[in-house]
Each structure stands twice: as structure tokens, then as C-alpha cells.
Symmetry: C2
């Protein structure tokens, strides 16, 4: 597939293992990252390593140097050319990566090159890092993960809100990140299809379908899900990652990186927090009865992530207000009152997070996309037992009010 | 002031009584509305009638024909050229008028001509209609007003939401109506300055300043106002009018028109409803003890406006869902459950409306802009008594929860 510009030059082409060498040879900015001027392009070792649904990802090596080239194609990779999806998503990914990098350089891969025309980005190869989901399935422990992720969340989310940006800057951000196609995917696959008899849904054949029907026709669940969906569609609070599950995190014992922000848009803060927590909760339920050590570890991750996030977000709010010294809060008790407002704001984010967490748990069980932690359980009867726990706790999470993450964890332990 | 395009032609100039005739003579589409080809431009009778803060408004007559020409100038009219304000606001006004006109033709003036370059719109002259605020000050009664305004609110707000529009159309709307400058005016003058010791504030010298200080340093009021401000800045629910006070409504006994939507943007539905209700509440408090008939009339307006709006908005939601027949609610009790969701949605709008109502009441008392209903009371002592009632009820409205408009009205009667 080739696209031409108005002068007739090739502007976009879908790369493959061969074309990629040619492309690098013609693109001095990338070539210089890997080869000296007199070295031949044949020295490069290219392999496609993408396992996602959307894009092609190439690992390109030359001696000890290596990098990642990620290209968006104008269709849904996992389906094929008959499911078109605009390449504009790469623009959102590039722009979001740059903003996240500015806010949290330690948690975002380095970007070496990007091309909007070619819908590609060249970035740091995280080859000493692995995907968190796989590591949790292997029962690996990461002592700094909750510290890192809570900072990533608190900082990327705070520094893109109206609290930090000027009113005009924030509105420019909203406009720039109107991400219609990828938001529609979330609206459909997280907030709509799982709650109806939709042909895209897929279910473990051993899962008792009457349980599914029970929440699909439950007034309070349906109302609560409709509210979360509406909130997702209207509440332009902060620039979200938009898809922060445990497959979007690469890490080793020391370092944590968040990747793949193509779903980025201005949405409710609780969405990023809730999606991540949901993936921890599902990992927890996937554990066998005797895996007490890892159960405690995952529960601690859930508690730490929320509590550290909440504390850091509040600190961001209060420290920013101390610097800003806005007239509005400049009276003897003003800063204390602002702290009360910050607490109340963070509590609203907590409520949203628990709601979004529940939606992610429903859809990863009865919708199209699954999580390997649960769907990878080979014994379908045991998998169904786990899934029932996931669904039953999701029903509680979306219909009850909780005052703290401890109450949420207690609820999990009761199920 | 002249602005030129790239060819050197005049693209924009500020009109005045003389230049306006010249402009009409050069603009066949406007000329033909008033004059036959052989009639001279000298037949036109032009007078400037604008009394707003922002724009120039001309009444142009020729025999029995007449129309209104409204032009935005690149500064704040009420201050002068030293307070620049971009003319882009006229684009928002024109675009919003067109959308409102499509949704509610009977409540929006006809638009005959518009020019983005010249920042002007030519529209129906509502010369048998008067401004609602003045009419309420004259204690006039309008039997159809609440019916009309509740329909305007329920329809313009519903038909621009995600309930009615596709996800992509709605997002295009949000993008198009990023109205930075005029939103900033609201953020500052409704949600910030009135709650601080800001130099732009103006107060009745007879108003006990200790009452003002009491809410400016009250933790719960400050927190609640900060939440409403944040909601205004983030909650992109529907295309709002954005400035729907009783000065933005022109009417006679039979007809009602809503004018001046230059503040239009995607915001929380309760903002339009709350601003309008606040202006009724202030009119109520401005009445003298013995004006029982008009007191009852205004209370009925408040009750009817809310209840009719709530019922019409819910009907719009339910009827739309009946037509749409989305799979999600297609089960035996689905439509009943959707009705429950609609009730819950409308209750959230109610809570928002009461909150925004309180903000408008604060700012119209201690901020820069006043309402003539109260500020026009010549006896400053009596005016201060009214203002204390407005402030005290605003404090209640913003810090308490109410279940119905009847509870709000009861609260008003207690004060």
C-alpha cells in the first residue's frame, strides 16, 4: 500500500522486514542512530515483534545498538485490511509520548525519531524489560512498581489538568486530543458490548451464562455502567493514557516504563487508575488457593497504588497552590480549606476509579478482549470459577459505595 | 480600524452609523432584504441600540422592513480599545444560533446573513418583543414563558449530547466550540473573583461586608464553588447557550426568543438551567413584602421551569431510546431500566443546576456584573436587605442537598 503527496512522492507505505532497511537507508536521522556513514545497511538485523492488535513493531539491531520502530497501518492489524482504522492514531501516540516524557521522563521510553506522514515512531528498545502482565503470570515481584506507577499516574494526570495548566492551554489540549476512533473502540468494547448480547463478545464455554444474563438485565448495574460510559465520554479532566492495563507496562526490578498511549485523550482521571487496578484485581482472583504469598503481594500492590497515587495527587494539588498563591485561597485558613477541597476531589477520583475498575472487569470476562492471567487458565472449569469471582465483585464494585481502598480489598477477600 | 486580506482588500472594519449604509450598499445580500434595486441607500434609518458589554447592535429600518445587524469589535465594548477581545466570538455566536435554530426554530431569531470576516450577523428584528429582565421589573406576566424556555433548554441541551449525536459528531462539536476567551470570562467573573478580594468586584456600599467575608472564608462554600468551577471547565455534556440570564430572552405575550449565544461551548447541562433559575430567584427576592401576586408568579416560574424541563428532557431521552432500540436496553425490562437511568441523570442535572444557580447569585451580588432587578433598587438599605437574602440562600443552595425544586422553594420562603 502506497500513498503519494501532491508532488507525486511516496508519503506513506506499509513497511515490512525488507522495506524497513530501504527506509532506514533513505532516512539519515534513523540511519545515524545505528550505523556509521561507511557501514552497510545489510548489517541491520530486523525482526517484527508486535503482538498487539493494532500496529507493527520492529526490533532493529546492529551490533550492540538497537531500537524499536513502531508503525501504524490503516487497518486493524489483528483483523486485517477489511477492518479500516485511520493512521491518525500514531499522531496521538507520538504527541502523548512527548507530553508524558516531559512530565515523567523516567517512566517513558526515549523517542529518537517520528514521522506523521509515515505514521511511525522510533524509540528506545526496552530489551532488558518485560511486559508486566507476563511477569505477574510468572509470579514475579517488583519492589518499586507501585511507587513508579503511582507517580506516573499522579504526575501525568495532574500536570495536564486545569489545576496546573492555564484555562487556554488545557482547552488546546482537549482540542488536540479529540481521538474519535480510539475512544469509540473503548465506548463500544468496554462500555457497551459486554452488557448486551453482542456478536463480538466471547465467553468461556464453561462460564454459567445465567450469571452473565443476571447483570446484563440488572437495573442498578445497567444504570451505573451507563453513568460510567457517559462520564468517559464527557468528563475532560486530564490527558489520559487511555489503555493502562498491565500489558502497557514494561519493567525490570529497577525500572518501569509505560508504553502505547495511542488511546490518549482528555477524559476522567479515574479511568486510567481504574483500568490499572482492575488488571491487578483480575490477577489476584486468578491465583490458586495456596498462593498466599502472591495474593498478599497483589493486594499490597492494589492498596499501595491507590494510596500512593491519592497522596501524590493531593500533594501535587497543594504544592501547586502554594506556589500559585491564588487570591481565592489567600486568607489565614485558605490553604487548609484548599486541602479539604483536594481531599474531596481525590475522593471523587476514587469513586470513579472503582466504577471504571468494575467496567474493565466485566469486559475482560465477557467482552471481546481477555486478560491472559485469567483466560490463560487451561482448566476451563477453574477458569470459570475465577471468572464468576471477577463478575461478582464487579457487580459489587459498580453498585456499592466504598470509603477507602481497604473496604474494596475486604470486599475482594469476602468473595 | 481596518484589517486587510492577502490581496490588500479590506476584510474587516468597525462599522458606525455612516459606514453601515456604505457596507449595506456594497453587500447585495443585505441590500436586497431592505431595498429594491432602484431605491437609494439614503432611505435607510440606522440607529445603534446595543446596551450589552461586548458588541455593537444596529437597528436598520426602511419603511416597514427592518432588521438587526450585530457586529463584534476586537475589544470589550464596555471598557474600550484597551481591553482587547478577539472577534472570534462572533463565529461562536453565528454557529450556535444556527444549531439552536435547527433544533428550536420557534425560539431563535431568523438569521438572514452572516460574515465571519466582518464578524457580523444580520437577523430578525424582534421589535414587538422586549427583554425579559425589564418586563419582570415591570411585573409583567407571560403565560407561555416557562413552557417555551423549558422546551428551549430540554431540546437544545438534549439534541447536542451524546445521547442523540453519534460519538464522533459530538466530539466534532466539542472541538468546534472550544471557546477559550469567553469561557475564561465566566471562569473568572462567575467562579473566581466573587470569592476573593478582587479589584474588579463591586459592592453596594450599604451591604454588610462581614457577610461577604463570611462566605469568602467558609471552607464548605469554597470547596463547593471550586467543584462547580471545575465542573464548568471539564464536563463537556451539551452545547450550552452559556449566558442564559433574563437579559438574553426577548418576548411578548405569545412568543419567546433566546438571543446572544456567544458564550456557547460544550459544558454541563445544569449551567444553562441554573443561570436562568438564579435570575428568577433574584427577581423573587427583589420584590417588596406586599407583592404577593408577583411573588407567587415568580415561584411558579421557578417550579414550572424546572419541572417542565426535567420532564421534557427525560421524555427526549426515553423517546430517543425507543427509536434507537439499542441492543444494550433490548430486554423485557430494558426500557423501564433506561427510564430509571434517565431519572438518575436528570437528578444529577438538578444538583448541578442548584450549584450553578448559587454561583450566579453570589457573583451578581458581590462580583462585577449586577442584575437590574436588585441593583436597580434605589434605596441602598433596602437593596442591601435583598442582597443579604440572595447571599444567604446562595450559601444554603451550594452547601446543602435538595431532593426537589419544592425543597429549594421552601428554603427560599424560609429566608
Amino acid at each position: 500500500m502506497y500513498l503519494y503527496n501532491f508532488k507525486g512522492d511516496i508519503m506513506y507505505k506499509v513497511l515490512n522486514n525488507d522495506l524497513i532497511k530501504e527506509y532506514i537507508d533513505e532516512t539519515p536521522d534513523i540511519r545515524a542512530l545505528l550505523l556509521s556513514d561507511d557501514e552497510s545497511i545489510d548489517k541491520l538485523d530486523v525482526s517484527e515483534i508486535g503482538d498487539g492488535n493494532l500496529n507493527f513493531v520492529y526490533n532493529i539491531k546492529c551490533d550492540k545498538k538497537s531500537l524499536i520502530l513502531k508503525q501504524a497501518v490503516p487497518f486493524l492489524r489483528c483483523v486485517g485490511e477489511e477492518y479500516p482504522l485511520s493512521r491518525i492514531r500514531m499522531v496521538f501516540e507520538i504527541e502523548a509520548l512527548k507530553i508524558e516524557k516531559e512530565i515523567c521522563p523516567q517512566y517513558v521510553p526515549k523517542i529518537y525519531y517520528d514521522s506523521v506522514d509515515m505514521s511511525l515512531v522510533v524509540m528506545q528498545n526496552l530489551d532488558s524489560h518485560k511486559i508486566l502482565r507476563g511477569e505477574m503470570i510468572n509470579r514475579e515481584v517488583f519492589p518499586f512498581l507501585s511507587e513508579h506507577i503511582s507517580t506516573f499516574l499522579a504526575d501525568t494526570l495532574f500536570y495536564t489538568t486545569d489545576f496546573y495548566l492555564s484555562s487556554a492551554q488545557k482547552k488546546e489540549g482537549v482540542k488536540k486530543f479529540i481521538n474519535k476512533e480510539l475512544c469509540k473502540i473503548t465506548e463500544d468494547f468496554i462500555f457497551t458490548h459486554p452488557y448486551e448480547d453482542n456478536e463480538t463478545n466471547e465467553c468461556n464455554p464453561k462460564l454459567d451464562i445465567s450469571v452473565v444474563k443476571k447483570f446484563r438485565e440488572n437495573r442498578d448495574v445497567k444504570t451505573a455502567v451507563a453513568k460510567m460510559r457517559y462520564k468517559f465520554m464527557t468528563d475532560a479532566q486530564a490527558l489520559l493514557h487511555g489503555d493502562l492495563h498491565t500489558g502497557s507496562i514494561m519493567l525490570n526490578k529497577d525500572e518501569t516504563y509505560v508504553i502505547d498511549p495511542e488511546f490518549a485523550f482528555y477524559g476522567p482521571i479515574g479511568f486510567d487508575v481504574g483500568i490499572y487496578l482492575a488488571n491487578l484485581v483480575m490477577s489476584y482472583f486468578s491465583l490458586k488457593e495456596d498462593e498466599n504469598f502472591y495474593k498478599d503481594y497483589v493486594l499490597a500492590m492494589i492498596k499501595d497504588t491507590w494510596e500512593m497515587f491519592a497522596s501524590k495527587f493531593k500533594t501535587n494539588m497543594v504544592e501547586n497552590e502554594k506556589k500559585r498563591k491564588s487570591l481565592q485561597w489567600s486568607y489565614p485558613d485558605g490553604l487548609e480549606h484548599f486541602g479539604h477541597y483536594a481531599d474531596s476531589f481525590v475522593k471523587d477520583v476514587f469513586d470513579d476509579s472503582v466504577g471504571f475498575m468494575a467496567c474493565e472487569m466485566f469486559r475482560r470476562t465477557v467482552g471481546l478482549a481477555k486478560v491472559a492471567d485469567v483466560a490463560g487458565i487451561e482448566d476451563l472449569e477453574r477458569r470459570a470459577e475465577v471468572e464468576i469471582k471477577v463478575l461478582e465483585s464487579a457487580i459489587k464494585f459498580i453498585t456499592f459505595n466504598y470509603n477507602s481502598i481497604d473496604e474494596v480489598i475486604e470486599e475482594m477477600q469476602k468473595i
